[in-house]
Subunit: 332 residues, 2 copies
DNA sequence: CTGAAAGCGCTTACAG
DNA sequence: CTGAAAGCGCTTACAG
């Protein structure tokens, strides 16, 4: 109900000091007597004074906001991933008194992002998805805005945090090979996605390391629709595949449904594993062997990286995060 | 690369007019000659001048941001709902040049929201979830911040947008009753949630209207864990229920899994319907009869309502949104 | 219709 | 160690 907000001038006046002094006591910048500072601080505490962040923004040209760009055309199975990542970002941002401005991007339309940047509403940006040829990246680089990609990015110069998909996929594939399975069908999505290329490399590494050969007939990529996936499953089964490796969970959930429909038993008739952990598959019967990545950790790390950049601290170009292999019934 | 941002003074100087005039040309407020205004506008256009929103904020004490409070402890099945609602909010907000500040609340801890409000970072708030006794509501009301609840709220005085759950549930229940099913088990969650009370009322209305009686033994409420739900399913089946009505999709997905596990056939052995539409159930075999609510529309309506409030326009206390009954295989 | 000036609430050289 | 003053880039009574 206290309509008038108390300002720095009010505090200064009440204490018989200058605004400069109050400002210094709060910010901790500039020399100030310990006694004076305590006096100011306790007055502030008592009277519940809160600096006006907008005024501070204007004076410092800093907003204490970061922009999180999230795809508006997400696949349902990816939603928990994005959400968890955002929670991680928020956790770190909140600790540093930063807030999150949400930007929803449709495909590679960057008008929303542009507006936010041109309006100077944020100090930096975290990109939750990047493209091979990415207008966001170009725009931000040109405007000289600090930003970080959460997830792998094509651009060598872009600061990026990612999970170690390559090693993870190699390890899971190795385990499958070690179990004596040889006729393994690999089902993947768009080959132009950086992450799919990375995963495929992991698979190939595992084969090579094992002295085995990955037949091209067992490789089904660019499965971007339900019908493509179902066809791939049919083909794989008619080639007597003993295992189906799904490169992401959207694919995996379609595969599972198709198999259930055709009364194909897992793991008896065919083994299944997914290169991604999704809460969507969590409750499946049987449970699915998969890789587990911590999206929240990804968000936290990305946010830390961005805040460092904003503070002018040098950050590594690339940070790789760990993973876990989760063996379940589907490969028993 | 143009490091210096062009300001209103630059424009004024270049054009040989005052800052006042430039400001007026842009805002459209105050009298200004048509010729002058065009001159200013075209100069601005040409030189890609963008007003500094922060400075504008300070001068007008308006931020052109709204806060969206989303629960951090969401159930997975609810995520698409929240996401869609946020997309709807963003769509309207973006049109009005507003941005969204994301606030993630854990339970009824409102420290995040408090900070955002006290920092004056937003002009209003949309609440994606409210509680029966809600500290957010109390805080915002006390601070006199415009806000709106997307979803039903206990508080009569709170501006709220909601789907018409009561009528929807009544209609779906009536349809089930009309099919001659009588031994219907109702499985619901926390009875203290406003929405669950509303839905239950719809069910009871349908029974009454039909001259039928809803036996207490068929009513299973407060099923807040997987084991409670499974027990309820067992009980319902041993009472020879011919239909299971799930009051939300979290419950429905557990019910489906339990039935599959027990090899109970839908709809032959028992019919199923859910009082909520979830993309999580979308691909289920068989497809599930349910109610369909448009979360995006909810978000858009809530956002419009909030923006009106911010502009000082009177808004209705309560807006009820429509729904659809989607009949599928599970009740055939 | 147009402008000079004060103000929004901070920060920060500069001077002492 | 402290303060007066200018400045951040807008808006808006007030005067003409």
């Amino acid at each position: 109900m206290s309509d008038k907000n108390i300002t720095i001038s009010d505090v200064a006046e009440a204490l018989g000091v200058s605004k400069t002094t109050v400002s210094r006591a709060i910010s901790g910048k500039g020399r100030i007597g310990e006694e004076t500072r305590q006096k100011v601080l306790s007055y502030i505490e008592e009277h519940d004074y809160k600096p006006n962040v907008i005024a501070k923004s204007l004076a410092q040209s800093k907003t204490f906001n970061i922009c999180v760009v999230m795809p508006g055309d997400y696949a349902l199975v990816d939603l928990p991933f994005f959400q968890e990542a955002i929670m991680g970002i928020q956790e770190i941002a909140g600790m540093m008194e930063y807030d999150i401005l949400l930007c929803i991007s449709q495909g590679d339309d960057i008008t929303s992002l542009k507006r936010i940047i041109m309006n100077r509403k944020v100090d930096g940006v975290v990109l939750l998805r990047t493209f091979v040829d990415d207008p966001q990246v170009k725009f931000l680089a040109e405007k000289n805005i600090p930003f970080v990609a959460a997830g792998s990015s094509q651009y060598k110069s872009v600061k990026q945090i990612d999970h170690d998909h390559e090693t993870a996929c190699r390890e899971l594939t190795s385990i499958i090979l070690m179990r004596g399975l040889r006729n393994i069908a690999i089902l993947g999505g768009n080959e132009n996605y950086v992450v799919n290329q990375t995963r495929l490399r992991g698979v190939e590494d595992a084969y090579e390391q094992f002295g085995a050969k990955l037949e091209q007939t067992n490789l089904f990529m660019n499965l971007e629709s339900k019908s493509f996936i179902e066809k791939a499953v049919d083909d794989a089964l008619s080639q007597n595949a003993d295992c189906i490796l799904c490169m992401d969970d959207a694919i995996c959930s379609h595969v599972l449904r198709k198999l259930r429909q055709d009364h194909v038993k897992i793991p008896d008739d065919v083994k299944i594993a997914s290169f991604y952990n999704s809460s969507v598959l969590e409750n499946n019967i049987p449970s699915i062997t998969s890789l587990s990545f911590d999206a929240r950790e990804l968000g936290m790390t990305a946010c830390k990286n961005l805040l460092s950049q904003i503070d002018g601290v040098e950050v590594p170009r690339r940070t790789l995060l760990s993973y876990e292999v989760v063996l379940k019934e589907s490969t028993k």
